[in-house]
């Protein structure tokens, strides 16, 4: 029996060793491929002037869908940063997912939100919507106040009220670089069949935002945070790509179905990312 146990342990050791050898070989190969691809990407970006690419008349309008749940402390600053992005045509749709703290009151006060009419253009089933608000001081800002249903449900609710051909799914406490929309919309212009694109993720958990947009800069506190960040990135790597040219990341843009502004109802958003992000934020 002892021999059998030692044999099993030995076999297990082989399996573990082989697993890590294969895993690291894959990481190494990925790095090699990325090296060449990044070089080509940098050269390609040189020959395409982004600001020229997004002339005001050719820029597709985008809705930023930002679900918020108990984000009283950060939501106002995050929304302010979203309202200062460099892009000719976008609107921000916040979804208050049944917050139990003062998120709704803070947003209403900070942005002069008042009840407004906005007919949903899609009918994805979600938890009931209590009220739709529109900002008097920022015409591009809308708030959907709904009962709690989780992040995926909140995104679907925001999608129902989206009037633009492209929408961007993100967190209400996320910060976007000023040029983020200009950069992320490029794949949609270069390939009309693109249905989804993702951005690069940087972790700001426990960081101090030094100079808010423009020129976003964050400083991490200690190694403990760094370990958490590595876990965060690993979790995101396991998220399956979305759509024909889907890429991974926290902020993903999707093209709505249908024809331009008269788009037909889009399918519900995939939800597996939501618990991952919620767990990591906690």
């Amino acid at each position: 029996l002892t021999e059998l146990i030692w044999g099993a342990i030995g076999a297990f050791n082989y399996v573990v060793l082989a697993y890590f050898v294969v895993l690291n070989a894959v990481y190494l190969a990925t790095s090699f491929f990325a090296f060449g691809a990044l070089r080509r990407y940098a050269l390609r970006m040189k020959s395409l002037d982004l600001t020229e690419l997004i002339g005001s008349s050719s820029a597709p309008s985008i809705s930023l869908l930002a679900p918020a749940y108990n984000e009283e402390r950060t939501c106002v600053e995050a929304v302010r940063s979203l309202l200062t992005l460099e892009y000719p045509a976008y609107e921000v749709i916040l979804v208050n997912d049944g917050s139990t703290d003062g998120t709704l009151a803070r947003l209403i006060g900070a942005f002069e939100l008042e009840p407004a009419s906005r007919i949903p253009t899609a009918e994805v089933a979600t938890a009931p919507v209590r009220e739709v608000y529109h900002s008097r001081s920022h015409p591009a800002l809308w708030l959907i106040d709904k009962e709690n249903g989780g992040k995926a449900d909140a995104l679907n609710s925001g999608l129902n009220y989206c009037y633009t051909p492209i929408f961007c799914a993100m967190d209400a406490d996320s910060l976007l670089e000023p040029e983020a929309l200009i950069r992320i919309v490029r794949p949609f212009l270069e390939d009309a069949t693109t249905i989804a694109a993702g951005g690069i993720l940087r972790i700001a958990n426990g960081c101090l935002v030094d100079r808010g947009p423009p020129g976003l800069s964050v400083r991490p506190h200690g190694m403990g945070r760094a370990e958490g960040d590595v876990d965060h990135i690993r979790c995101l790597r396991r998220v399956p790509p979305v759509g024909r040219r889907g890429r991974r990341g926290v902020r993903d843009r999707y093209r709505r179905g249908g024809h331009g502004a008269g788009g037909a109802a889009a399918p519900p958003l995939p939800g597996p990312r939501a618990p991952v992000q919620d767990r990591l934020r906690a």
Binding site: Y14, L17, A18, V21, N24, A25, L28, S31, F32, R40, L43, R44, K46, S47, L48, D49, E52, L53, G55, S57, S58, P60, A116, S117, R118, I119, P120, T121, A122, P139, F188, L189, E190, D191, A192, T193, G258, H259, G260, A261, G262, G263, A264
Partner: protein, 359 residues
């Protein structure tokens, strides 16, 4: 390895599988270390290069501004450019070219003229990105001298190079480039239609006549005609209303019909509503929605019944355009009454009225 294994201080199995695994781990580790060192070296190299370029840019900038103000100083600037820095110098000037127009732009062309031959040679490179960059430089700084190369690049096998060339020609705004570009729009089917339309629209009013004839050409592909319709809409070309109405009446292509209706909504006249009315009951929701939009904008009280009926359309966009149309065609009182209820029609009416207030 044999000596190590038999020496006693390293107690590992002699099993070939384990030895193979150890060898693989060692090889991977070596490659990883080499790769990491290379990455670090590259980082240092890039930082040094950036610092060198920043110093050069500082040296060139004041001389360049002097040369723009006084062309007699161009030779002084050229003396600051070493032979091995000529390509970099053109890239440096390109940054200014994006922001300058008219006489200043012409001065920049004079500054880089001696180096454009070098750039032209790079149009034959095997690397797509190099060709794209060369075409971009020639398009911004080398027209019309190198227009043959830029026009030929529209046929480049790489779509990136072709698009960079097309943008350069469109930006130049010369009427003679318009025909060449319009004839090759079909090459860019992969690109977003609105983006292409915006590129064509930016060529100026000279292109409008060609766009109209392209839209009217029934032998052309519907996709190409759609791009023309969008470009005319972006140009708000009021002379294209008749062509758009003709297209709506004759085409069977869904996308082209939608784009022609969208164009009509912007530039049409009340006389065009006759061909649009039948489309307001189309089974295709996008066609129906756009037709209702046109009726709302161009129609009169006689179109009110169609618009009121469409308030109950299952497709929200059709219902919303209908509500806006009712508001614009003398049905405000009807909307006010409907807005008192909390059903879908009431909320549509409330939104249409609220939008009027916002406008």
């Amino acid at each position: 390895v044999e000596e190590l294994l038999s020496s006693g201080w390293l107690r590992v199995s002699r099993e070939p599988t384990l030895l193979a695994l150890i060898a693989v781990v060692l090889a991977l580790s070596l490659v990883t270390i080499a790769f990491s060192m290379y990455a670090v070296l590259l980082r240092f190299q890039n930082e040094r290069r950036d610092a060198r370029r920043a110093a050069l840019a500082e040296r060139w900038q004041s001389a360049l501004l002097d040369a723009i103000a006084d062309p007699a100083k161009i030779p002084d600037l050229h003396r600051l450019v070493d032979d091995n820095r000529r390509l970099h110098f053109v890239g440096f000037v390109l940054q200014f070219a994006r922001r300058m127009r008219g006489g200043e732009s012409e001065a920049l062309r004079s500054v880089v003229r001696p180096y454009m031959g070098l750039i032209a040679e790079r149009c034959d490179s095997d690397r797509v990105e190099v060709r794209a960059r060369a075409v971009q430089s020639l398009g911004m700084l080398g027209l019309p001298e190198h227009e043959d190369l830029v026009m030929a690049a529209v046929d480049d096998p790489s779509l990136l190079v072709a698009m960079v060339a097309a943008r350069a020609l469109a930006k130049a705004g010369e009427p003679r480039y318009a025909s060449a570009l319009l004839a090759k729009v079909h090459r860019f089917k992969e690109w977003d239609r609105l983006y292409l339309a915006s590129m064509l629209a930016a060529m100026g009013p000279e292109i409008s006549a060609e766009l109209r004839s392209g839209l009217a050409n029934e032998a052309a592909e519907p996709w190409t005609r759609s791009v023309m319709a969008e470009a005319l809409r972006l140009r708000t070309d009021f002379e294209s209303g008749d062509v758009a109405a003709q297209v709506v009446a004759t085409t069977d292509d869904r996308d082209l019909t939608v784009d022609a209706l969208r164009l009509l909504a912007e530039v049409g006249r009340p006389a065009h509503t006759a061909v649009v009315r039948s489309k307001a009951r189309s089974h295709d929701p996008a066609v129906r929605a756009q037709a209702l939009r046109v009726l709302g904008r161009l129609g009169g009280p006689e179109d009110l019944p169609i618009l009121v009926e469409a308030l109950d359309d299952d497709f929200t966009w059709a219902a919303l355009y209908a509500a806006r149309g009712v508001r614009e065609n003398g049905g405000r009182g009807l909307l006010l009454r409907a807005a008192e209820s909390d059903d879908r029609r009431g909320r549509l009416a409330a939104q249409a009225l609220a939008e009027e207030g916002a406008a």
